[in-house]
Structures are given as structure tokens and as C-alpha cells.
Amino acid sequence: MSSLTRPRSGALVSGSAKSDVNPLVSLREVRRDYALGAERVHALQGVSLDVERGDYVAIVGPSGCGKSTLLNLVGVIDQPTSGTVTIAGKRVDAMSDREATSFRLHNIGFVFQRFYLMPILSALENVELPMAEAKVPSDDRKARAAELLEYVGLSSRERHRPSELSGGEQQRVAIARALANHPDILLADEPTGELDARTGAEIISLFRRLNSDGTTIVVVTHDEDLANATRHKVHMRDGRIVDA
């Protein structure tokens, strides 16, 4: 389904076009310290990383090594203590809350370990939600939401509430939702963490399909099968990238 990953038309293309030369995501000497009482935790200690458009990267490493911290910086939901983060040619490391929120809406697709679908909305409405926020006309967003649910294999579940869906189905709705506004990049933190091996495998093959259809993906995972399905693995230890 080429329409899912087709570059956006109109004004929104400019950022993407520029990044065709540069990497889509570029981190330079990124540090992130957390104040924990009087102590400072150095979660990231000078990380530099490029992610090319169309790549599929797994960030792996022991617990507490800073994987989620890194992904949050790429997802513009956190800001580095120092260093720069550039996405699609745009510096995102010091945005205001309002700018960051809008950037996330239009450029980032986030998939969480727990799916965080809105319980009172149907699967279709959950996928429509980010498009409604982006002021996509109702007919267009219904059509696209239906298309996305079909892509993730849930056409028959459009009207179902999250509580009526299995974990694997909920995660697929969440992935469809993450793709709603044609993001530049799909980020996933332990997307198979709550799923059993079989449903996890479905998500793994869905991610592969998405990537081969052109979606840039970065996953953080402890799941060997998921990590092995990606194009590149980035190993981390103690807040640093080792043998990237």
C-alpha cells in the first residue's frame, strides 16, 4: 500500500526534501542528566547517532543503559542537557512545549509498550484522533483511518473498542494511529514487551512490512527476534553507544 508511506504533498514536504541529503535523524554529542535528589544521573554521556531515511534501527543494551532516554529525545518528548538533535533538517532539542507538541503531531509516530488507546473510542476513532488534532477533514481522516486499519489487518475490527481487542490487535491499532499523520519516523519503545511470542511475531512482521514500504523506524527492545529483524542494531552501555 504505497499511499501509506508516500511523502506528503504541499507545504509539509519542504522539511523532508531537505533531509534527503542529510540523515533524517542526527544526534550530536547528546548528554542527558537527571537530577535525582542531590545526585545527578548521567543517563546519556555524549551520544552521536545518524538515522537515514528508510532505515530500520534497533537500540539494544542492558536495562538502564539509556535506551528509552535516547528514544525520548528523538521523539521530542524530552530535551538533552547538552548536544543537538536534528530531525528532518530541524533542530528539535530546544523547542517550546507548543512547538514540540506540534512537531510530534506531524512528524513523529510513537508506539508504546502499553498501547494507550482511548478506551471510549472505537479502533477507527482512535486512529482518527491525531488526524482530528491536525485538523484533517472528517471524510479524509475516516478514509485514511480505515485504510490504515486495513494495512495492519484489522478492517473487521473498526467498530470495536480497545477492551474488545486482544493485546496484539490493540498494538496494531496503536501502530495505525502512530502512522496517521504521515510521520517522518516511527518510534517504538518495547512494542512487543506486553505481547506473547506469537502476537509479538505479528508485530515484528508488520514493522518489517512498514519499513520495506518506506517507513523509517527506530525501536528500543530487549526482544532478540525484533532486534534481529531490523536493518541495523545500535548497542548501548552506560549511556554510550558501543560499536554502532
Binding site: 525520548n72 521523539g75 507538541t101 510513537f110 494507550y116
Partner: protein
């Protein structure tokens, strides 16, 4: 308590033909209490037990009670006699304390009032509607008192609503964090919570109005039977509905704003907890 029915007695005497059998009219509460019906013969006297002076009369009419709040709490029974008989039994002669005058046209009232007050020294004439207003003062106070109780009730339940909203919203902090991380703006989150609060407040107050209306039916049924009066003790009027709905809407929306503001001020990652 002879005076209130003197005027009526006057009219009765004027309009009814004199028959050998004297009649009286009693009110329905009296009739029910004493198990009397039209046509019954009773002895009447000015003082209890004064049987020597008693007259035998026939119950000619049973009169429905008016919807007069001032009569409700009183245990009085009313009997209306022809004036001459009343005068004789009571020994009052031709003295009266009060009497009522009906004019043919309402336009004549002012002129009549003026004239009476001008010529009759020691008398004071009032318009009946003024007397009605005067006697219902107490009830206006009571009704204001009720309104105050109502407002206090709604405010108290709104504080309850606020607590529930805060808890409900708190319960969904992770969902809200996820929304914020997806790129849903603060204002959208606040707006949706406020809309939810408004819907809850309006539905709740509507439910309250329906419940109040049903309770009113019961209260009226009960007290009308108890006091034998057609008076309505409790009514749900459009202004009451308006006050209830708008007050809970304002307070509900306020609750929604407070509850959601608390959450959207916190950075989404913190909301997620660890």
C-alpha cells in the same frame, strides 16, 4: 373565628331564599373530620355544651378549601351561617369587624377604596390583592430560604463533583500522557475534559430535576392529603430548572478546568511515572 365568613354569610342571605329549614355551609376538612355530609342535621351553639340555646340546622353545602398557605398549618374548621342566625347565636347584634365588598368592575375599586377611607372614620379599606401580598410575605421568606438551601446543596454536590473529576482525571493520567506524547495539545486535552465535565454536569442536573419533580409529586400528594388543601407544597418551575442546570454547569466546568489544569501543567513524561 367568626369573622372570616361573615361576608360570605351576607352574600348567602342575599342570594338564598329563606326556607323554614335553616342551612349552613362547612368546609371539607370539617366535614371529613366530623363525618358530615350534605343534608345532615346538626345542632349549633355559640359555646360548647350550651344545648339549651342550640339551633338545629341542615348542612347545605360543603365548601372546598382554597389554596391559601396561611390556612394550611391552622387546625381551624370553618362554618358559614346566615347572618341573622349568626348574629342571634353569637349575641353580637349588628356588629362586624370586617366585611368584603365586591365591585362590578375592577376599575371601580380605587374609587371605592378612596371613598370608604374618606368617609368612614376608624375604618380602613384595603384591596384584597394587597392583603394577599401582605399575608404571603412569610412565604416569600420561606421560599428564599428554600432557594438558599438549594444553592448550598448544589454547591456542596459540585465540590463532590470536583473531587470525582480530579480522581477520574488522575486515573487517566497515563492516557493523557500518551495523548500529549502523540502530539495532542494541552488545550485539546483541557477542552475534552471540560466538555466531559459539562456533559456530566448537565446530565446530572437533569437527572436531579427529574428526581426533584418526582419527589414534588409525592410531597404534594402527601401534604395535600394531610392538610386537606389543594395547595402545592413543592413545584419545579422553569427558573428552578434553569438555576439548577446553569449552576451545576458552571461549577462542573470549573471542576473540569481545575482537574485538567493540574495534569496538563505536568510534563507528559513525568505523568507516565516510572
Amino acid at each position: 373565628m367568626l369573622l372570616p365568613f361573615l361576608a360570605f354569610a351576607l352574600i348567602l342571605q342575599a342570594s338564598l331564599p329563606q326556607t323554614s329549614q335553616r342551612t349552613i355551609a362547612i368546609d371539607e376538612a370539617f366535614a371529613a373530620e366530623a363525618h358530615l355530609k350534605v343534608g345532615d342535621r346538626v345542632a349549633i351553639a355559640a359555646r360548647p355544651g350550651a344545648s339549651a340555646a342550640a339551633d338545629m340546622v341542615v348542612i347545605g353545602a360543603i365548601v372546598r378549601r382554597g389554596a391559601d398557605p396561611s390556612q394550611v398549618a391552622r387546625g381551624d374548621f370553618v362554618a358559614r351561617l346566615h347572618l341573622d342566625q349568626l348574629q342571634r347565636i353569637s349575641g353580637y347584634g349588628d356588629r362586624v369587624d370586617r366585611f368584603a365588598i365586591a365591585t362590578r368592575r375592577s376599575g371601580d375599586i380605587d374609587r371605592t377604596l378612596l371613598r370608604i377611607n374618606h368617609v368612614a372614620f376608624g375604618f380602613r379599606a384595603y384591596r384584597s390583592s394587597d392583603i394577599a401580598v401582605e399575608t404571603s410575605r412569610t412565604f416569600q421568606v420561606v421560599s428564599r430560604f428554600h432557594r438558599a438551601i438549594g444553592v448550598i446543596t448544589i454547591v456542596a454536590s459540585s465540590i463532590f463533583l470536583l473531587c470525582i473529576m480530579v480522581l477520574k482525571v488522575e486515573e487517566r493520567r497515563r492516557d493523557i500522557a500518551a495523548l500529549r506524547l502523540m502530539g495532542i495539545s494541552r488545550s485539546s486535552v483541557v477542552r475534552s475534559i471540560i466538555i466531559e465535565a459539562a456533559v456530566v454536569a448537565v446530565l446530572g442536573s437533569m437527572l436531579g430535576v427529574v428526581l426533584g419533580w418526582a419527589t414534588s409529586l409525592f410531597v404534594n400528594w402527601h401534604y395535600q392529603a394531610l392538610y386537606r388543601t389543594p395547595l402545592y407544597f413543592s413545584i419545579v418551575t422553569p427558573p428552578v430548572i434553569g438555576l439548577a442546570v446553569s449552576l451545576s454547569l458552571i461549577l462542573g466546568v470549573g471542576a473540569g478546568v481545575l482537574a485538567s489544569m493540574r495534569l496538563v501543567r505536568t510534563p507528559p513524561l513525568e505523568l507516565f511515572g516510572r
